[in-house]
Symmetry: C2
Subunit: 317 residues, 2 copies
Amino acid sequence: MSSIVLAIGNGSALFGPSAPADDSELVRFIDPQSQVVNAFDLSVLRGDGIFEATTVWKGFPVSLENHLRRLADSARLVDMPAPNFDAFTRAVQLVIDEYDDPEPGPMLRIIVSRGLDPSTGVGKTKAGVPTVLIFLDALGTLHELDPITMASMTRGYPSDITARAPWLLNGAKTLSYAFNCAVHRECDRRGVGDAVLYTEDGYTLECPNSSIVARYGNRYVTPDPRIGILNGTSQREMFAWAQQEGARIEYRKLPIAELRDADSLYMTHGGWVIPVSELDGITKRVDMPQIVAINEAIHSGRTQTDALSIRPVGDYI
Amino acid sequence: MSSIVLAIGNGSALFGPSAPADDSELVRFIDPQSQVVNAFDLSVLRGDGIFEATTVWKGFPVSLENHLRRLADSARLVDMPAPNFDAFTRAVQLVIDEYDDPEPGPMLRIIVSRGLDPSTGVGKTKAGVPTVLIFLDALGTLHELDPITMASMTRGYPSDITARAPWLLNGAKTLSYAFNCAVHRECDRRGVGDAVLYTEDGYTLECPNSSIVARYGNRYVTPDPRIGILNGTSQREMFAWAQQEGARIEYRKLPIAELRDADSLYMTHGGWVIPVSELDGITKRVDMPQIVAINEAIHSGRTQTDALSIRPVGDYI
């Protein structure tokens, strides 16, 4: 039984102008326990690559198109070639087809490194082709709907840095997640479930591997991604749900003090919306039937089409 | 002939309390062209690990003890176990013993990831043992003494952030180098050789993969690492050289404007001191005989012992 499916993608095809007709040229499957990456790959040496992660719910890859769009955004921000959407969509389906564990919601991850390091002896003649791994994993840590506590922490940057310093790669989902991992260890030390980051001038950003949504009455607010954060895929699914339910949605610069005043808070990532029970010691209202309803709407595909067109409107102020 | 030597280290031994008596338990050698890293290793998935790099000059691993001390500092900052210096020193020597290319100064790199990702199905029962790769490479890009041009760029942080936000991992040499790679691509776009980074309040930090030293007359100045930068190994070798030559050395908060006013600038890394011919369009004096003399002092081991005790004195202000 394949509870973990691991595929090596054909980097030339997945980042080429036209997808190959034959599926066998897109991916090949390998034993997840085996060694598959060269020591001189830029993922290993430099965390130099990009990725996406979502849930495949009963065979349905949640928000796949928005994930691929964000992969393309990340590729552009890190000066990599553009992913071929058709090739990636088919490659993901091939991975899903190999899966046969009873778990309905395994995690899907697409890992792309820039390829072999051209400054090394092994890489200098073979560089330039992205290394692609795609896997589906039912045996790792899966999402749960249990309410989590949160602490806010500074990201160290001012809110205007992204336009001034694109080399910081703010807004790109890179493989360089040592900082994100460190924030989670800091959460463990503080005894909280996760963190929300803010700028030095006090504006809400995002969580280390998720987005944040605040509810004020019938209004759902999230930070405008143009501040230099990821464009949340599950957050957009949640906004689609909110619109369908007749609520208002809003993107803007959101002071962290105002986030603390929200009626409810939601952490969104990987195809899930998870309730926040507490931020910086302040209790937040958790409505579990609502949480279940939102996740059902996302996993059933009800919000998928609407989520594709949700974005901030107007200029970034 | 082994122009590239790649070893997989025994993570338990290299990060254990006592080094094994038998060398064969420290490393095993593998074909550099082969696949050696599992897809679920935290280096691949998260850039979650630490590293060191130096030159082995005619069999002499430059600044090895200071590199291992810094590896230990990085391990502490990222909550990893402490490296065993004896085991690492012997492992590095075993790698050097396998090398037999005529190139006198191959690059040595020590790569350490946190191990397999415990949140994945493959990693959950086998996590906690660092993955260690050690390689020596004569065929990649080697250091040259040609003077380089430089541009200054913001790092986005204020100069007091490191003490306030240790989760930013400032001062740790992690595998998450996507930002550092992006700065080098920005340099390519601007047509300069490298960059020096500064804080939002205008203090000099470091270069993406090197340290910076400024000369004012007979005084050599470098930013105090307590601002949240790496403790430069080659920079300390250079300071040892300067002291031996009767010059003054100084660690302090160094305004970027003052860096631009230096008589000469030196980029130091990987066992080399490289002259800077220009910063932000301002020409700097390059004294090639001096550069050659400094590098000879470092490579011959003349500065090694003195470099071990060079550090900033007094409190950080």
